[in-house]
Symmetry: C2
Subunit: 201 residues, 2 copies
Amino acid sequence: MILITYTKPLSKLIGHFEKFPGIGPRTAQRLALFILKQPESTIRDFSEALLEAHSNVGRCKKCFNLTSEDECEICKNTQRNQKLICVVAETKDLLALERAREFKGVYHVIGGLISPMDSVGPELLEIRSLVERVSKSEIDEIILALTPSVEGDTTSLYIGKLLAPFTKVTRIAYGLPMGSELEYVDEVTLARALEGRTNLN
Amino acid sequence: MILITYTKPLSKLIGHFEKFPGIGPRTAQRLALFILKQPESTIRDFSEALLEAHSNVGRCKKCFNLTSEDECEICKNTQRNQKLICVVAETKDLLALERAREFKGVYHVIGGLISPMDSVGPELLEIRSLVERVSKSEIDEIILALTPSVEGDTTSLYIGKLLAPFTKVTRIAYGLPMGSELEYVDEVTLARALEGRTNLN
């Protein structure tokens, strides 16, 4: 919805906000008007934070979690069990598990799910690096925490077969309703799903 | 909700998004992760749009609508009836009326409502400029389109008394439910409210 009554710099800004996920035209307008009301220093800080996060945040060399250093804070944390790896599709899933405060191991973020429909094969995901990581160090258990869907199940089975020769592979329990997004599941359900994980090999 | 697992530039960016109206911690996280996935050029454009809108968008000298020039596009538009002024509290209310596509006159944005509880007196609003504008030029009618609330009614009565010597003053009909925000009322209701306006003097 473009209105002739917006002045150009404002309509441009609203256009940017409309591209964000879950932001409709009215929310975009509200956010843009909010920006105009802020002191200039706040907007400069925000603008710098955007560029800084975008250029400085990369992937952990070990687990592919987001980090601004070589290794992420979870991989560097000696309090966490480095022999227990939880495999997730995306960083947002890792953050959801962290909110559940149930898991004390480390992660491996594969970057998506195998999906022939979207031409996403295993070679596009961080699966080879996972196999390498597991084969090179002593790992007690791999927990697969992927969304319960056709793609999630396919990916779980694929990784399960590859890792079976090296270590124990489990999958978090089907406590999650089918088709739901891991990101939005409540903490208690996620904790239950971790507890009730079942053996795959 | 601050998580130790966010890397600093990311948590800083999330913090900025959390300050936006109507954006909670999870939406802020989703928006920040979305930013990281965008190409750098998009983020540079967005960052520039923020600064440009903030520094270039000011107030119209005539009606105090947002504009990047001296006079806003509505005031400069010769197709619009310059003798019919609609008084609104905020720019977002003006935009809501524009969406209703019912009003063909011009506006005066007073910048808020009289509210003794919040120490907002008439002198903090663009009411003096409105009286001056009405007294200096030939105006057929002033339509007051303020939120139906104690503050809105007070402001309407105050402006109504001040302008009565100069011209006809009307108020949009009470078709709006009490306590609602003008910004969120649907277009049809707004159009009805404009049609059914009543005489104040």
